[in-house]
Symmetry: C2
Subunit: 366 residues, 2 copies
């Protein structure tokens, strides 16, 4: 079969990841001439002009609708990815305090902790390292500090495939979450958080954009030496436009938010995500050719790592998967094996195709 025109694979990449084809087709249609009227691409517009100002404002409005973000939270469209904000979070949220609490559930927690240690004392309140990061530590085991500026956790570990199915309670100490790899996959009670941040390149849009949702009373007291464009308060006052924002990424994020609203919002999207994850995990649990090591109650709906019983078959599995249009299934280099990331843009039919292939491969090689 010719691989021409819009033939598309099922893309299981962990990020940068699949973007809804409807969003890409819309962007493609107006890539040289926005709305068939501007005479230019969104990429070529002034970020301070009427058109782009509306694009950004609409994106914020739709994100607020999707997540039911309360009015006392600021929504920022910034740069640098979650990794930059591993530093920006302590820069903004220490507020004169000297200590922060962190939960350690895997690779992304560890990176956030290492970066925070540049700025303050870090108290690791709970860790799942004892079992190779295969579970989410129960709230009852957390040893919270009374004098922490905030409590940070990664609510979905992209590499390990561990997702918190519950929201921690941290009393008066603000809760901060890196939601990069499961934001917009389910409703979230934003008011339980002091700050939520997420790199765009999984469920929001292209890489290069990070969304920060922060309670307004927490910002305005940054550490000395904080770059102005990482000052959440100043950025909030400037509608994220102290400097030029990543305009094309904001535009694509806005199209993705519209796509989610058209599908009924996050409650509806969550139902599909539950079905997708159940289909894949149920199959994995039904046989012993493939396995997933994560505690069942803590399994991620978005990132499903799995291993073949015989890792010598890994290369063959990946090669035949690619030939069928099941793409980017290789696990993270730090853990090996396979990983199927099944974000919002990966349809149910994609998971069906994957499970069908896994069954066939197991029969042929089992």
């Amino acid at each position: 079969m010719d691989r021409v025109s819009v033939e598309r694979v099922y893309n299981f990449g962990s990020g940068p990841a699949a973007i809804p084809v409807e969003v890409l087709e819309k962007a493609k249609g107006e890539l040289t001439n926005w709305h068939n009227a501007a005479g230019m691409s969104v990429m070529e517009m002034s970020h301070r002009g009427a058109e782009f100002t509306k694009i950004a404002a609409d994106a914020e409005r739709d994100l607020r609708t999707l997540l039911a973000i309360p009015g006392n939270y600021k929504v920022l469209f910034l740069q640098g990815g979650a990794s930059m904000h591993f530093a920006a979070v302590p820069m903004n949220l220490l507020r004169g305090m000297k200590k922060a609490d962190y939960v350690n559930t895997g690779e992304w927690s560890k990176k956030a902790i290492a970066e925070a240690k540049k700025f303050c004392e870090v108290n690791v309140v709970a860790s799942s390292e004892d079992k190779n990061f295969t579970y989410a530590p129960k709230q009852s085991t957390w040893k919270l500090s009374a004098d922490a500026a905030y409590v940070h956790y990664c609510s979905n570990e992209t590499i390990g495939g561990v997702e918190f199915q519950w929201t921690p309670e941290t009393g008066k100490v603000p809760l901060v979450s890196d939601m990069s790899s499961h934001i917009l996959s389910r409703p979230v009670e934003v008011s339980k958080y002091g700050c939520i941040y997420a790199g765009a390149q999984k469920n929001i849009g292209p890489a290069g954009l990070v969304v920060v949702i922060v309670r307004e009373d927490l910002i305005g007291n940054v550490l000395p030496g904080t770059p102005t464009v990482l000052d959440y308060k100043k950025m909030a006052e400037a509608d994220s436009m102290i400097n030029t924002p990543p305009t094309f990424a904001v535009y694509l994020a806005g199209l993705t938010f519209q796509w989610l609203l058209e599908r009924g919002g996050l409650a509806a999207v969550e139902k599909v995500n539950v079905r997708k994850a159940k289909l894949l995990y149920d199959y994995i649990d039904s046989q012993d050719f493939y396995s997933n090591p994560i505690a069942k109650e803590d399994r991620s709906r978005m990132n499903v790592p799995f291993r073949l019983r015989d890792e010598k078959l890994d290369a063959k599995f990946l090669e035949q998967a690619e030939a069928r249009g099941l793409s980017q299934l290789k696990g993270h280099r730090s853990v090996g094996g396979m990983r199927a990331s099944i974000y919002n843009a990966l349809p149910y039919e994609g998971v069906e195709a994957l499970v069908g292939y896994m069954q066939e491969f197991a029969r042929a090689n089992g």
Copy 2:
């Protein structure tokens, strides 16, 4: 006339700015399926996969070719725009020293100076503020410090329209330039610089990407509290991929570099830019309905601010310009009037159309 399909305006915006239509058409053609083969957009590819790794490596190779970058310079594709690097430059280049020299030639110099003051003593070695930033201070007037870590200047002031037509000599103290708004418009002798940085959204590609070119012996000694993703040495060691780079912006930058190479490289591109600027300045100087305040020898080839004799006509001038497809001519809010940014992607014919319109408008309203 119907405004359909690829009807395009002449876009005089200062940034985000015009992108070559050939680049946009290429990106459009493969927006849902890169090379008609990947089955996905560049935006959806892993930054660590073979395809994107090659896209990024090719972009670096072509940029090295265009600017003849010596082997002892690192090329980084980072995030945050030039504004983020107003902070990252002192973070990386102070190297234990306490002072840096800055030249003040306008709005962007002032922003870089304000940010640097968070990190060190700033010695303003020369300033054109005495004449409202309408010239570039001659080298003979610069009062360089013996103990400065580096000397920083903005070699093209986007808002003021002042461009250095010569390269400062700073002896053993490394020279650092913010070249955001004229990089790739002319050849540059990179070996005269310690560091060159530039936001992409004028002559390189979409907003959200910043290119840093830095001499390798200057990096590796950052200030405490420098975010890891702003550590030039660590980023150089990781091919700018400690975290996910803004992949789509890197891809478009790469297409733009190819476009420049196809046009004969920067020596050829400079000739066109000289012709474009001459056409516009010659017209402005030939009459008194419009005026440009910049010293002739320091006028920018890229950003041409001009005023109407009667500013009450500004709104009418802009409205009729837009109606003719001459877009984004409004001057920066801090200085008013008009500004024609005539970057590489704005063709000679666009300047002809602008001058034709200016003549006609002057006749009708003079």
